[in-house]
Symmetry: C2
Subunit: 107 residues, 2 copies
């Protein structure tokens, strides 16, 4: 065992969990916050700013890309990452919908 039994859950539950999971690491939170603070886009600065190895940052970026939150553009020899606005807004809507429909029935 050790493998999540995704097949017993529906697509909405799996997708939602996947979003939450990817956001569930402080480095990825920090990356999103840093990108959003800059007017201009980010490349290697994240390595210095955050203090993880370049390979590690690259891996985190890849995961954020995997749910469509980040877009990357080649800019010379460096990479310019930015947040995908539409995706960002859609995700926020999604999560709010989960919070709102999961009503607060109590004992």
């Amino acid at each position: 065992m050790g493998i999540t039994k995704t097949q017993i859950f529906d697509q909405q539950q799996n997708e939602l969990a996947q979003f939450f999971k990817i956001l569930g690491h402080p480095a990825r939170i920090a990356i999103l916050q840093y990108i959003s603070k800059q007017n201009t886009c980010i490349c290697n600065d994240l390595v210095e700013e955050i203090g993880l190895a370049q390979a590690t940052i690259s891996q985190h970026l890849k995961e954020l890309k995997s749910i469509g939150l980040l877009q990357g553009e080649i800019e010379g020899k460096s990479m310019c990452y930015c947040i995908d606005i539409d995706r960002w807004t859609a995700l926020q809507k999604n999560l709010n919908s989960f919070f709102n429909t999961t009503k607060k029935n109590c004992c």
Copy 2:
């Protein structure tokens, strides 16, 4: 390695990531949805409803309790779980605040 370097992030980032992480499993999403669907509170039904072993469900409930989302009350020989409304609302606010302050500056 393998251990998350929490010490290089601030408390807000770690806490936020922790919330996301705990919500980042389909079983825990399903548990929250199921509890919220019932007028009355839940006990052992989750085991049948969700289809994971009792030990596994109990573990997931423990994690949801760890961030304060669930409250449990002893009711006879069974356990009655419910969503903590205040906590739920506070968490939603928190996440929305993250989404809103992480502005959408793009390349």
